[in-house]
């Protein structure tokens, strides 16, 4: 390792659960800034409950000029565990990092243009040996893959895209994005981070296939009519040996389906996961939250706390192994809110696992409405997945 030849780099995380937004912001920012000199970027993950302008004002009171991006969440994550009412501030600093930020508003009117505008930030860190584009988008703005497409068109294949969709604590009304001193909604904010040392990215969902694949014999958009030429709902219930309640009761079905998504075959890597949102008991069809194309193979998937946790380990290991043996400075995690519901009260275990992989290094992240990780191919929007970014 030639670390002695590289410029200094550091990452530190601060967290605060104080009631007052301004105090919480200042408190968390102060802790993060204690990590070192020359801060280059602040990343803010804040609970939905905060008065966002006051929160930002609090952060700005201790760090008036450091570039900042952030968003509201469906729960925040730090080394000490998951939370639902606090703010986590991450600081990156040192001459070994170069950072540029962008924000693109009115996202729903032009998702692709928004992604492309956000990715322009990369121009300012061109020339750094390793680059990554962090994206925090409004998860309620529309088809997030369009944002990824837009960003990819500018970034190209050599720069990985990583991030997640902002949340609003499952109210599903409006999420907020932060850029420097501004609170935005219907926006995407981005930070292009250039570094002298590698980044590592891990992506895992933690669902496993049940039985043999089925042909999607008929579907339309996110509605699945037939699986293996049988009514999709019947095929789904029978194959999974679903409990009786789930066969007649909509709520029981949704609860059951939350841990039994569909997996769509992919050439490489893991399946793309499709969450089954509801059952149409009349027409015997399944309604998913994203498109399920006709004519492909699909697996029924299942997961439990243990498979979700195994995925956590695998994602961390994948991210860390890309660092070429360097110890991580810290880990950023973008974790699907649905995984949180699978874990239930055991959600702390997951964060503890991430923290144990990080060792001494800090962890920060949030529960998302969708995850972004483009490392292979051109698609990079995920459901029900954990994305881990390791910095070194």
């Amino acid at each position: 390792m030639e670390d002695h030849a590289l410029s200094p780099r550091w990452m530190a995380v601060g967290r605060s659960d104080r009631r007052d937004a301004g105090e919480a912001g200042a408190d968390a920012a102060r802790q993060a800034l204690a990590g070192g000199d020359d801060p280059r970027l602040l990343i803010v993950f804040a609970a939905d409950r905060f008065d966002a302008p006051a929160l930002l004002a609090g952060i700005r009171s201790v760090a008036p000029t450091v570039p900042l991006i952030g968003c509201s969440t469906a729960g925040e994550i730090a080394s000490s565990g998951p939370g639902e009412a606090g703010v986590v501030v991450t600081a990156l600093g040192g001459a070994g990092f170069r950072v540029a930020t962008r924000a693109a508003a009115r996202l729903s009117a032009g998702l692709r243009a928004g992604g492309a505008a956000a990715a322009q930030a990369l121009d300012e860190v061109a020339g750094m040996p390793y680059r990554v584009l962090l994206l925090l988008a409004d998860g309620l703005a529309g088809d997030q893959q369009e944002i990824v497409r837009g960003a990819y068109g500018v970034a190209g294949a050599a720069v990985p895209l990583v991030g997640g969709c902002a949340g609003d604590d499952l109210r599903m009304v409006a999420t907020r994005q932060f850029h420097d001193d501004r609170v935005l909604t219907d926006a995407v904010v981005a930070a292009a981070v250039g570094s002298e040392a590698p980044f590592g990215i891990g992506v895992r969902h933690g669902w496993r296939r049940v039985g043999e694949p089925m042909l999607v014999s008929a579907s339309s958009g996110s509605r699945v009519m037939l699986l293996d030429d049988r009514p999709a709902l019947d095929a789904y219930l029978m194959r999974l040996d679903a409990p009786d309640a789930a066969r007649t009761d909509a709520a029981a079905f949704t609860a059951f389906a939350q841990t039994h998504p569909l997996g769509l075959a992919r050439r490489s890597g893991e399946e793309h996961v499709r969450f089954v949102a509801e059952a149409d008991f009349e027409r015997r069809e399944l309604v998913c939250i994203a498109e399920v194309p006709t004519g492909g193979l699909a697996w029924l998937m299942e997961g439990d706390a243990s498979s979700v946790l195994d995925a956590t380990d695998a994602a961390c290991i994948e991210a860390l192994s890309a660092l070429g043996g360097r110890p991580p400075l810290g880990l950023l995690t973008f974790d699907c809110i649905a995984r949180k519901s699978v874990l239930g009260v055991g959600v702390g275990d997951e964060v503890a696992r991430v923290a144990s992989h990080a060792g001494e290094a800090p962890v920060a992240g949030f529960y998302t409405y969708g995850e972004i990780a483009r490392t292979r191919g051109v698609t990079g929007f995920h459901n029900q997945t954990l994305v881990v970014l390791a910095l070194s």
Binding site: L122, A126, R149, Y152, G153, V154, A155, G156, A157, A158, V159, G211, E212, P213, L215, S217, A218, L264, A265, R266, R267, S268, P293, T294, G295, G296, L297, R376, G377, V378, T379
Partner: protein, 775 residues
Amino acid sequence: MNGWSTQQLTEFLAAIGATGSRAAALRLAVERVAEAVEAEVAAVMVDGRVAAQVGFASTGVPGSSLRRIAAGDDPVELPGLGRCRSAAGRLDGEGDAWLVVARAGDDAFNSEDRALLRGMARILTLALRNLRLLTDERRTRRTSQRQARETRQRQRLLEALARVQRLIVDRAPQQQILDRLVSDVGRLVGDPVVGLRLLEPDGTLRVVAAHGIDPSTFRVVVGGTPGSGAGGLALAEDRLVVIEDYPRHPMATPTLVERGLQAAAAAPIRADGRPIGSLVVASTLRGRQYGDTELEALTAFAELASLAITDAERTEHMLHSALHDALTGLPNRSLFSDRLAQRLMPTRRRRSPAAVLFIDIDDLKRVNDTLGHLAGDMALVEVGRRLTSSIRVGDTVARMAGDEFTVLMDGVEDEQDALAAADRLAAVLRRPLQVADRSLTLTASIGVRLAQAGQDRTDDVLRGADLAMYEAKARGGGGVSLFHPELDQRAARRLELESDLRTALDGGQFRVLYQPIVSLCDGSLRGVEALVRWDRGTLGLVSPVEFIPLAEETGLIVELGAWVLGEACRAAAELTPAARGDVALSVNLSARQLLEPGLEATVAAALAASGLAPERLTLEITESVLLSDAATTLERLEALRRLGVRVAIDDFGTGYSSLSYLRRLPLDAVKIDRSFVEQVTLDPRQAALVRGIVELCHALSLDTVAEGVETAEQARALVGLGCDLAQGYHFGRPTGIGEIAARHVLRPNPVKAGRTTGGLIVGPDDHPDPTPLAL
């Protein structure tokens, strides 16, 4: 194979038809093609320039690399991505224009990807032309009738293509798709005769769909061999063929001229890039000339027909291969589990039980090791064939993994009935089979478990049959065992043992005992063999026979073996000053340890930590190790010997003995198995065999150690046979190392006097010339 291609093509068709400008169409095309074939990079290259691309920041587009892809280079190096696999599809009629893709890594584009790329290139070409016409129309604001007609025609063509495409995606019956396709071609091209013909395995062409004329007439009209007529020519030369003055054409067939044929055109239909048929249109109109639009339509529909045909085959193949074992063609584990699950669904109607047979071929490893894996595979295929031909219709045979098969039998009367069926299968499998010019006899161990619909769970039934199979195997193989609940308890104990084993090392529950190895000529102590024991405290001692295989299976043997080695080296080194200076130490090495990359380091560390001289350490390996991976084994043994330690073969004569490896391998000693020693005083032939082994070893300068010597009589016989060293209860049971040394130093007892003391033959401690230590 991702299975979405036809869907993607349809969506592409719809999306590109909706774009309003050339730039938007190109951008959409590169993005969609990259997504469709899971590539990082896609570009449209026109006359060597990049017209649109995705995958590079606009400032860093590597035009020259992309040009090389268009020129057919694969793989290529791309900035930021390194080595990439690539593919290109031509945009026909657009000049030197290509749709190119590149994917990072070594995953090459397969025929399905290439078909998709070609299909998308075709659709893009049509869309671009249509856009051009629309642009012209806008510019002049006064369209000529001909242009308007062409635009309408193209629009109709795109619509027709989309309709057929939708049928493909919806998995409509292939005949319906092809019928629709030829009727659309007829409508768009306007010729009275349209036919689609495919090559049969026997080399003839079969008419699979026709329009305007019934297939039997068509066959007469167009003939049935490749190379003749427009269709035959298109197939034979794999290109678009246009014959506009048919009666004067050299290829013209008189019958057709007689019937008034004036012109014909044909496009090839391809599968996996090879021509497999043709789509033909023919006209009886004098002076018939084919316009660009018509030929485009013909080519586009031929591509679509190719897609429909390969898609049907691919789907069938994809589903089949997901559910079947590639080697034997039998159902695989997931299909078997599913059938079993279906069979076990609760029903109103009372059903007789089903039986699951779990079959494991006993000696397959031996076949693989001695005759090679190809022979092993052939044997498996034959086993599958025999099982399939021995069951009733409706029963299922599956290959679960490696040498494991399962059978699901329906309508079994009772346990006796199931056992009888299993016996029948065992007998069928025992019949000799011919593999690689050798006649082999395989045996199988079969476990049987009955299952009742509505009561038993799939997993339990399979596990039960599996456990019963292990029981059959434990009884020596070749037999049949029925599941009984005790097997579950035994499996549970094993699990418990396994979990305890994992904590036993940290819990300090292992001890190392030492068994003396003595010189047979003078009875002196020459060495000790380290043997591990597991004391589970209040639960008592666990036999090594029980826990060593478990440790092997779980991989714990590596950690345990390293601990034993360290412990034994330390004990042996500490022993030296107080006892005779040169007692050697033998430590067993398992197969698993031998394959462990860190082995040399572990051994070196144990030696360094203890200060034991390397030449005093002998590592013992069993014969079977040598068979599994001879090349690796040889390398590892040589590496170990470079450390200065010695290597011995343990239990010699029990495995698939081959004397040749004694010469090939870097060995220092051979330990003759106790089964020979037992017989040495009883069976003169065994004695002769031992003499043979000893003499061969001596010829190769290897020391010989007899194992399991229990009586003075055996010891004397071994002396007579020339054996050098021995160990066994007669010389001492495994015990603490200090105790052995003390007894040997204190209790001299020459063997030539024939006296024994306390079951121990020992030599004088003033032996004048201790030969170099054997072990």
